[in-house]
């Protein structure tokens, strides 16, 4: 009776596992923070950025004495950017790892279902990278973000495109993903308010490298600005193929192309020269930011993309814990709503929805050395 014994074994393992894990969950003097992001699958690069940032933050906070004497422990959780796995890891973080707060989820489509579980369990979550408006629009008290919203970012980009670049014919391309398309739509919405409609609105497929037909289409509509909502993995080949086909239209994109890999993906600095992007305030201009970046560099890692966002998220979470001397959702949320936190990305405060009060998106431009600077 193989069937029976397997089931029995299964139940036994589960029970033993649950009991064992429950036992050591709340070891004295440790506060656990879950760091959830994709570590496998196509978005794995971002999961690593999250983890590096959070790990470094925990290390630094512990070195400075922890929170009221308790040490921080970060727990890695992999959601592969799939809603299914996001729910699974969220439950695992709550039930097995018993974390007291979560910094996480990269894809908005993971953050949304996972936050339901955190909310149910009474644990506060702050996402370093989910920019979709829907994340904080569902009336959940314990959902915050360290990044801006697509609509804020899109508005900054649209203002720049219309007012500074004086664009008349704007081609909009997105990657049919919640971040990319959301950003593109937000940009278009603001652009329409300013009285300009897009001449082209098309989606490309994530994971592909050949966008030549799309590029030729851009050429045929004679666009003077190309706005791309998506990640550097597609932005790189796209901008390269635009330039190769002799299109000199300005290329504008969002914060997700902020990575050294963008240059690699585009085939070298000469293709990214002149590319505009929206991104938060440069942390290098802040003293705290400089110090942290030096620490990363000393350990042989160049912080990029969401590394510092994740670092700042852990800072904000621990600050709330420190100030309220509790890990209770309500207390922490109330405190975060009414106080500001000094993070590696500058001073941050949150509105009643959990969004950043001040969106600090500004325009950057890449140069022919493969670096970018604030305009």
């Amino acid at each position: 009776m193989f069937k029976l014994s397997l089931r029995k074994y299964l139940v036994l393992t589960c029970v033993i596992g649950a009991v064992a894990l429950a036992g050591n969950a709340n070891a004295a003097g440790t506060i656990k923070i879950g760091v959830a992001g994709p570590h496998t699958g196509g978005y794995a690069a971002f999961g690593e950025q999250f983890w590096r940032g959070a790990e470094q933050a925990a290390k630094d906070i512990n070195a400075a004495g922890g929170i009221n004497g308790s040490m921080i422990k970060v727990v890695k959780a992999d959601d592969a950017c799939e809603p299914k796995q996001a729910v699974s890891v969220a439950n695992r973080l709550m039930d097995v790892d018993r974390v007291q707060a979560v910094a996480g989820h990269y894809c908005s489509s993971s953050t949304i279902p996972a936050s339901e579980i955190y909310d149910d369990a009474g644990v506060l979550v702050m996402t370093p990278g989910s920019t979709n408006p829907k994340v904080t629009e569902r009336g959940m008290k314990g959902v915050f973000r360290m990044c801006g919203r697509d609509d804020q970012q899109g508005a900054v980009a649209a203002n720049f495109i219309i007012n500074k670049l004086k664009a008349k014919r704007v081609a909009v391309i997105h990657d049919k993903d919640s971040y990319g398309q959301g950003l593109a739509d937000a940009m278009i919405a603001r652009m329409k308010q300013l009285g300009v409609s897009e001449v082209l609105y098309e989606g490309l497929t994530r994971g592909e490298k050949d966008f030549n037909s799309l590029v030729t289409k851009v050429k045929s509509v004679k666009a003077d600005v190309v706005f791309f909502g998506g990640l550097h993995t597609e932005a790189g080949p796209l901008v390269r193929q635009l330039r190769e086909q002799g299109i000199s239209a300005a290329f504008v994109s969002g914060d997700a192309i902020n990575s050294a890999d963008f240059v690699t993906a585009a085939g070298g600095p000469r293709y990214v020269d002149g590319v505009y992007m929206t991104f938060g305030q440069d942390p290098l201009t802040l003293k705290t930011g400089r110090d942290v970046i030096e620490k990363f560099r000393a350990s042989g890692y160049e912080p990029e993309g969401y590394t510092l966002y994740s670092y700042a998220t852990v800072q904000a979470l621990t600050a709330a814990m420190d100030a309220t001397n509790s890990t209770d959702l309500d207390k922490m949320a109330d405190w975060l709503h009414s106080h500001s936190v000094n993070t590696v990305l500058g001073e941050k405060s949150w509105d009643s929805k959990g969004d950043l009060k001040v969106s600090d998106f500004v325009m950057y431009q890449w140069d022919d050395k493969g670096k970018f600077r604030q305009l």
Partner: protein, 305 residues
Amino acid sequence: MDSYIIGQQLLNGLTLGSIYGLIAIGYTMVYGIIGMINFAHGDIYMISAYLTAIILAVIFSFGVTSLPFALLVTLLLTMVITGVYGWAIERVAYRPLRGSTRLAPLISAIGMSLVLQNYVQVSQGARNQGIPILIDGVVRLGGEEQFVQITHIQILIVLASFIGMGVLTYIIQKTSLGRQCRATQQDQKMAAILGINTNRIISTVFVIGSAMAALAGVLVTLNYGSFDFYIGFIIGIKAFTAAVLGGIGSLPGAMLGGIVLGMSEGLFAGFVSADYKDVFAFSLLVLVLIFRPSGLLGKPEIEKV
């Protein structure tokens, strides 16, 4: 619509189609000989993209300055190593399953695809990687503003795919190895009785298919310059679709299927909607198969009663 735009779109489709065709050859050969869908083939292509970048980097670190030499060495080494990959995968994951159900190797191939992707991710990291631009000439026809263009590397891709297909068709049709392949394809048991080492023939087919994927990998990497551990998945499905569209088991069919798929995708994206280009590509496949059940160049299946 301006004619130069149409011309450019046709060229875009041709290049993309040639890439599909090159990879589709591997699918079609493997399918032809043992009737299995080698889902790991797209990941073999991904491996070859990594190998290209790694070998190029090593060669340049030795201070080699001759570009043709570097490219040739890279191409050869990549094809050899990728061939070894193909051989080893067949030996480890598919050969033990020969003679069991038809679906067992399919599942094994899906598992192998996961293994290859994640092996590369674990050892090379999840980041997007790239190589610098090595060949960047362009042929332009037409005026300052309105022109049709094709880059040198794109010309190379189209040529390589047609030459590759030609050489392989010649090998299959005219050489002793080709005869043995065809015999194995027709009837494995009978071929074995006639003294053909069918295991060796099957391994050879895997090696050749992988080497073709490597050829595609090197050229495509030179063309787009960017890759990650996940690129094999989408292009693998597309190439397999191309192989079926052209008539699986037929080498010219793989090429034709690739070009038809590439062209229809390119033209649809260019003139109708890029959002729905994949929907269009798959619908085209379904339609072709409804009216020509064995693909464009496949031999019609005669029902033997």
